[in-house]
Protein backbone atom coordinates (compact mmCIF):
# COMPACT_ATOMS: atom_id res chain seq x y z
CA UNK A 1 0.00 0.00 0.00
CA UNK A 2 1.42 3.36 -1.01
CA UNK A 3 2.02 5.98 1.69
CA UNK A 4 1.41 9.72 1.33
CA UNK A 5 5.17 10.23 0.99
CA UNK A 6 5.19 7.82 -1.99
CA UNK A 7 2.27 9.67 -3.58
CA UNK A 8 4.17 12.95 -3.29
CA UNK A 9 7.27 11.41 -4.92
CA UNK A 10 5.26 9.78 -7.75
CA UNK A 11 2.87 12.67 -8.41
CA UNK A 12 4.72 14.12 -11.43
CA UNK A 13 5.06 10.67 -13.01
CA UNK A 14 1.32 10.10 -12.45
CA UNK A 15 0.35 13.43 -14.05
CA UNK A 16 2.77 12.86 -16.95
CA UNK A 17 1.27 9.35 -17.41
CA UNK A 18 4.66 7.78 -16.78
CA UNK A 19 3.56 5.06 -14.31
CA UNK A 20 3.03 1.39 -15.07
CA UNK A 21 -0.56 0.11 -15.05
CA UNK A 22 -0.03 -1.47 -11.63
CA UNK A 23 1.54 1.66 -10.13
CA UNK A 24 -1.26 3.76 -11.57
CA UNK A 25 -3.93 1.58 -9.99
CA UNK A 26 -2.17 1.68 -6.60
CA UNK A 27 -1.84 5.46 -6.92
CA UNK A 28 -5.53 5.88 -7.76
CA UNK A 29 -6.58 3.64 -4.88
CA UNK A 30 -4.61 5.82 -2.46
CA UNK A 31 -6.16 9.00 -3.93
CA UNK A 32 -9.62 7.48 -3.52
CA UNK A 33 -8.98 6.98 0.19
CA UNK A 34 -6.91 10.08 1.03
CA UNK A 35 -8.26 13.61 0.61
CA UNK A 36 -4.89 15.19 1.53
CA UNK A 37 -3.22 13.47 -1.39
CA UNK A 38 -6.14 14.29 -3.69
CA UNK A 39 -5.65 17.96 -2.84
CA UNK A 40 -1.89 17.67 -3.17
CA UNK A 41 -2.03 16.11 -6.64
CA UNK A 42 -4.60 18.68 -7.70
CA UNK A 43 -2.27 21.46 -6.49
CA UNK A 44 0.64 19.99 -8.42
CA UNK A 45 -1.47 19.75 -11.57
CA UNK A 46 -2.48 23.40 -11.20
CA UNK A 47 1.18 24.32 -10.61
CA UNK A 48 2.33 22.55 -13.78
CA UNK A 49 -0.40 24.17 -15.89
CA UNK A 50 0.51 27.58 -14.40
CA UNK A 51 4.19 27.08 -15.24
CA UNK A 52 3.24 26.12 -18.80
CA UNK A 53 1.31 29.37 -19.19
CA UNK A 54 4.36 31.48 -18.33
CA UNK A 55 6.05 31.90 -21.75
CA UNK A 56 2.93 33.40 -23.29
CA UNK A 57 3.00 36.25 -20.79
CA UNK A 58 6.77 36.58 -20.49
CA UNK A 59 8.43 39.61 -22.09
CA UNK A 60 11.90 39.20 -23.60
CA UNK A 61 14.38 41.69 -22.22
CA UNK A 62 17.29 43.21 -24.16
CA UNK A 63 19.65 44.82 -21.65
CA UNK A 64 23.06 46.45 -22.21
CA UNK A 65 24.89 43.16 -21.70
CA UNK A 66 22.79 41.48 -24.40
CA UNK A 67 23.27 44.43 -26.74
CA UNK A 68 27.05 44.28 -26.24
CA UNK A 69 27.07 40.55 -26.99
CA UNK A 70 24.87 41.05 -30.08
CA UNK A 71 27.23 43.78 -31.33
CA UNK A 72 30.26 41.57 -30.73
CA UNK A 73 28.64 38.69 -32.65
CA UNK A 74 27.57 40.96 -35.48
CA UNK A 75 31.12 42.36 -35.86
CA UNK A 76 32.54 38.88 -35.71
CA UNK A 77 30.12 37.69 -38.42
CA UNK A 78 30.99 40.58 -40.72
CA UNK A 79 34.70 39.62 -40.54
CA UNK A 80 33.98 36.06 -41.66
Amino acid sequence: MLKCRDIEAMASDYLDKDLSFQQRMAFKLHLFLCHNCRNHVRQLKTTILSIRQLPATHAVIVDDKMKALAKHLQENASKQ
Partner: protein
Protein backbone atom coordinates in the same frame (compact mmCIF):
# COMPACT_ATOMS: atom_id res chain seq x y z
CA UNK B 1 19.24 51.01 -21.66
CA UNK B 2 16.87 48.11 -21.32
CA UNK B 3 14.24 47.32 -23.92
CA UNK B 4 11.33 44.95 -23.55
CA UNK B 5 9.85 43.07 -26.45
CA UNK B 6 7.10 40.54 -26.70
CA UNK B 7 8.20 37.27 -28.23
CA UNK B 8 5.46 37.39 -30.87
CA UNK B 9 6.87 40.63 -32.32
CA UNK B 10 9.96 38.81 -33.52
CA UNK B 11 8.63 36.85 -36.45
CA UNK B 12 9.89 33.35 -37.19
CA UNK B 13 13.30 31.66 -37.29
CA UNK B 14 13.66 32.16 -41.05
CA UNK B 15 13.23 35.95 -40.75
CA UNK B 16 15.70 36.08 -37.88
CA UNK B 17 18.32 34.02 -39.74
CA UNK B 18 17.88 36.11 -42.88
CA UNK B 19 18.38 39.26 -40.78
CA UNK B 20 21.54 37.93 -39.15
CA UNK B 21 23.02 36.79 -42.47
CA UNK B 22 22.37 40.31 -43.82
CA UNK B 23 24.20 41.77 -40.79
CA UNK B 24 21.10 43.46 -39.34
CA UNK B 25 21.93 44.56 -35.78
CA UNK B 26 18.31 44.28 -34.59
CA UNK B 27 18.19 40.64 -35.69
CA UNK B 28 21.32 39.91 -33.65
CA UNK B 29 19.85 41.66 -30.60
CA UNK B 30 16.59 39.76 -30.90
CA UNK B 31 18.34 36.41 -31.35
CA UNK B 32 20.61 37.04 -28.36
CA UNK B 33 17.70 38.21 -26.19
CA UNK B 34 15.60 35.18 -27.16
CA UNK B 35 18.18 32.43 -26.90
CA UNK B 36 21.26 33.49 -24.94
CA UNK B 37 19.73 33.11 -21.44
CA UNK B 38 18.54 29.61 -22.36
CA UNK B 39 21.97 28.67 -23.76
CA UNK B 40 23.65 29.85 -20.54
CA UNK B 41 21.12 27.85 -18.54
CA UNK B 42 21.90 24.66 -20.49
CA UNK B 43 25.66 25.22 -20.11
CA UNK B 44 25.25 25.78 -16.35
CA UNK B 45 23.27 22.55 -16.03
CA UNK B 46 26.08 20.59 -17.70
CA UNK B 47 29.27 22.22 -16.45
CA UNK B 48 28.27 24.61 -13.66
CA UNK B 49 28.33 28.36 -13.17
CA UNK B 50 31.99 29.17 -13.84
CA UNK B 51 32.27 28.37 -17.57
CA UNK B 52 28.63 28.75 -18.63
CA UNK B 53 28.71 32.29 -20.02
CA UNK B 54 31.95 31.70 -21.93
CA UNK B 55 30.64 28.44 -23.42
CA UNK B 56 27.39 30.10 -24.55
CA UNK B 57 29.33 32.93 -26.22
CA UNK B 58 31.66 30.45 -27.99
CA UNK B 59 28.58 28.47 -29.09
CA UNK B 60 27.12 31.64 -30.67
CA UNK B 61 30.31 32.29 -32.62
CA UNK B 62 30.41 28.73 -33.89
CA UNK B 63 26.66 28.81 -34.72
CA UNK B 64 26.88 32.10 -36.59
CA UNK B 65 29.88 30.77 -38.52
CA UNK B 66 27.73 27.96 -39.91
CA UNK B 67 24.42 29.85 -40.01
CA UNK B 68 24.36 29.90 -43.82
CA UNK B 69 24.50 26.07 -43.79
CA UNK B 70 21.77 25.70 -41.15
CA UNK B 71 19.09 23.97 -43.16
CA UNK B 72 16.24 24.55 -40.73
CA UNK B 73 15.90 20.81 -40.06
CA UNK B 74 15.24 21.69 -36.44
CA UNK B 75 14.20 24.97 -34.84
CA UNK B 76 16.91 27.59 -34.34
CA UNK B 77 16.45 27.15 -30.58
CA UNK B 78 17.04 23.38 -30.71
CA UNK B 79 20.08 23.84 -32.93
CA UNK B 80 21.63 26.47 -30.63
CA UNK B 81 20.94 24.33 -27.55
CA UNK B 82 22.64 21.34 -29.18
CA UNK B 83 25.72 23.38 -30.10
CA UNK B 84 25.88 24.75 -26.55
CA UNK B 85 25.40 21.32 -24.95
CA UNK B 86 28.12 19.78 -27.12
CA UNK B 87 30.52 22.61 -26.31
CA UNK B 88 29.77 22.24 -22.59
CA UNK B 89 30.32 18.46 -22.66
CA UNK B 90 33.61 18.84 -24.56
CA UNK B 91 34.77 21.44 -22.05
CA UNK B 92 33.68 19.24 -19.15
CA UNK B 93 35.85 16.39 -20.44
CA UNK B 94 38.76 18.79 -20.91
CA UNK B 95 38.42 20.29 -17.46
CA UNK B 96 37.96 16.81 -15.98
CA UNK B 97 35.72 18.49 -13.48
CA UNK B 98 32.94 16.64 -11.75
CA UNK B 99 29.76 18.63 -11.85
CA UNK B 100 28.29 18.47 -8.39
CA UNK B 101 24.92 16.80 -8.33
CA UNK B 102 21.90 18.90 -7.66
CA UNK B 103 22.48 20.26 -4.16
CA UNK B 104 18.97 19.39 -3.06
CA UNK B 105 19.54 15.76 -3.91
CA UNK B 106 18.76 14.59 -0.37
CA UNK B 107 15.67 16.75 -0.07
CA UNK B 108 13.15 13.90 0.00
CA UNK B 109 14.87 12.07 2.84
CA UNK B 110 14.60 15.07 5.10
CA UNK B 111 11.20 16.25 3.88
CA UNK B 112 9.47 17.38 7.08
CA UNK B 113 6.03 17.54 5.48
CA UNK B 114 5.55 13.88 6.49
CA UNK B 115 5.36 12.19 9.90
CA UNK B 116 7.08 8.96 10.97
CA UNK B 117 4.26 6.97 9.36
CA UNK B 118 4.89 8.76 6.03
CA UNK B 119 1.52 10.53 6.22
CA UNK B 120 1.04 14.28 5.76
CA UNK B 121 1.87 16.10 8.99
CA UNK B 122 -0.72 18.78 8.27
CA UNK B 123 -3.98 18.80 6.38
CA UNK B 124 -3.52 19.62 2.69
CA UNK B 125 -6.20 22.15 1.88
CA UNK B 126 -7.62 23.11 -1.49
CA UNK B 127 -6.22 26.37 -2.80
CA UNK B 128 -8.50 29.41 -2.88
CA UNK B 129 -6.89 30.50 -6.14
CA UNK B 130 -7.04 27.15 -7.87
CA UNK B 131 -6.95 27.59 -11.62
CA UNK B 132 -3.78 28.26 -13.68
CA UNK B 133 -5.45 31.31 -15.24
CA UNK B 134 -6.24 32.84 -11.82
CA UNK B 135 -2.73 32.08 -10.54
CA UNK B 136 -1.02 33.73 -13.52
CA UNK B 137 -3.42 36.70 -13.32
CA UNK B 138 -2.38 37.23 -9.68
CA UNK B 139 0.62 39.55 -9.86
CA UNK B 140 2.22 38.35 -6.62
CA UNK B 141 1.80 34.66 -7.43
CA UNK B 142 3.25 35.13 -10.89
CA UNK B 143 6.21 36.90 -9.30
CA UNK B 144 6.61 34.07 -6.77
CA UNK B 145 6.69 31.48 -9.57
CA UNK B 146 9.28 33.46 -11.54
CA UNK B 147 11.47 34.07 -8.48
CA UNK B 148 11.34 30.44 -7.38
CA UNK B 149 12.17 29.35 -10.93
CA UNK B 150 15.18 31.69 -11.02
CA UNK B 151 16.47 30.25 -7.73
CA UNK B 152 16.22 26.59 -8.75
CA UNK B 153 19.50 24.67 -9.08
CA UNK B 154 20.70 24.79 -12.74
CA UNK B 155 19.86 21.18 -13.60
CA UNK B 156 16.30 21.51 -12.25
CA UNK B 157 15.84 24.79 -14.09
CA UNK B 158 17.04 23.28 -17.37
CA UNK B 159 14.84 20.16 -17.14
CA UNK B 160 11.76 22.17 -16.15
CA UNK B 161 12.30 24.65 -18.98
CA UNK B 162 12.84 22.02 -21.63
CA UNK B 163 9.99 19.74 -20.50
CA UNK B 164 7.25 22.09 -19.33
CA UNK B 165 8.02 25.27 -21.29
CA UNK B 166 9.59 24.03 -24.52
CA UNK B 167 7.75 20.68 -24.70
CA UNK B 168 10.92 18.66 -25.40
CA UNK B 169 10.73 14.87 -24.96
CA UNK B 170 12.40 13.28 -21.93
CA UNK B 171 14.71 11.36 -24.27
CA UNK B 172 15.91 14.57 -25.91
CA UNK B 173 16.44 16.22 -22.51
CA UNK B 174 18.51 13.25 -21.30
CA UNK B 175 20.64 13.41 -24.47
CA UNK B 176 21.24 17.14 -24.16
CA UNK B 177 22.11 17.11 -20.46
CA UNK B 178 23.78 13.69 -20.45
CA UNK B 179 21.68 12.38 -17.56
CA UNK B 180 19.62 9.24 -17.01
CA UNK B 181 15.84 9.21 -17.47
CA UNK B 182 15.24 8.52 -13.78
CA UNK B 183 17.51 11.41 -12.80
CA UNK B 184 15.71 13.74 -15.23
CA UNK B 185 12.31 12.77 -13.82
CA UNK B 186 13.47 13.38 -10.25
CA UNK B 187 14.88 16.79 -11.23
CA UNK B 188 11.61 17.70 -12.98
CA UNK B 189 9.55 16.72 -9.95
CA UNK B 190 11.82 18.61 -7.53
CA UNK B 191 11.51 21.75 -9.65
CA UNK B 192 7.72 21.56 -9.91
CA UNK B 193 7.43 20.71 -6.24
CA UNK B 194 9.54 23.72 -5.19
CA UNK B 195 7.19 26.02 -7.12
CA UNK B 196 4.10 24.24 -5.77
CA UNK B 197 5.32 24.69 -2.19
CA UNK B 198 5.89 28.43 -2.69
CA UNK B 199 2.42 28.87 -4.20
CA UNK B 200 1.02 26.86 -1.28
CA UNK B 201 2.80 29.04 1.32
CA UNK B 202 1.38 32.16 -0.30
CA UNK B 203 -2.15 30.76 -0.37
CA UNK B 204 -1.97 29.57 3.25
CA UNK B 205 -0.71 32.93 4.51
CA UNK B 206 -2.96 35.28 2.57
Amino acid sequence: MTEKFDQKDFGDDAALIKGMLAGDSTAFEIAVALYHPKMVMIAKAIIGEAFAEEIAQDAWISAIGSLADFGGRSSLYTWLVQITANAAKTRLRREKRQVSLDENWQQLDTDDRFNHKDHWREQVSQWDIDTPEAIIANHQLKEIIQQTFAQLPPQQQAVLTMYDLEGESMQEICNILNISASNARVLLHRARSAIQQKIHQYQENS
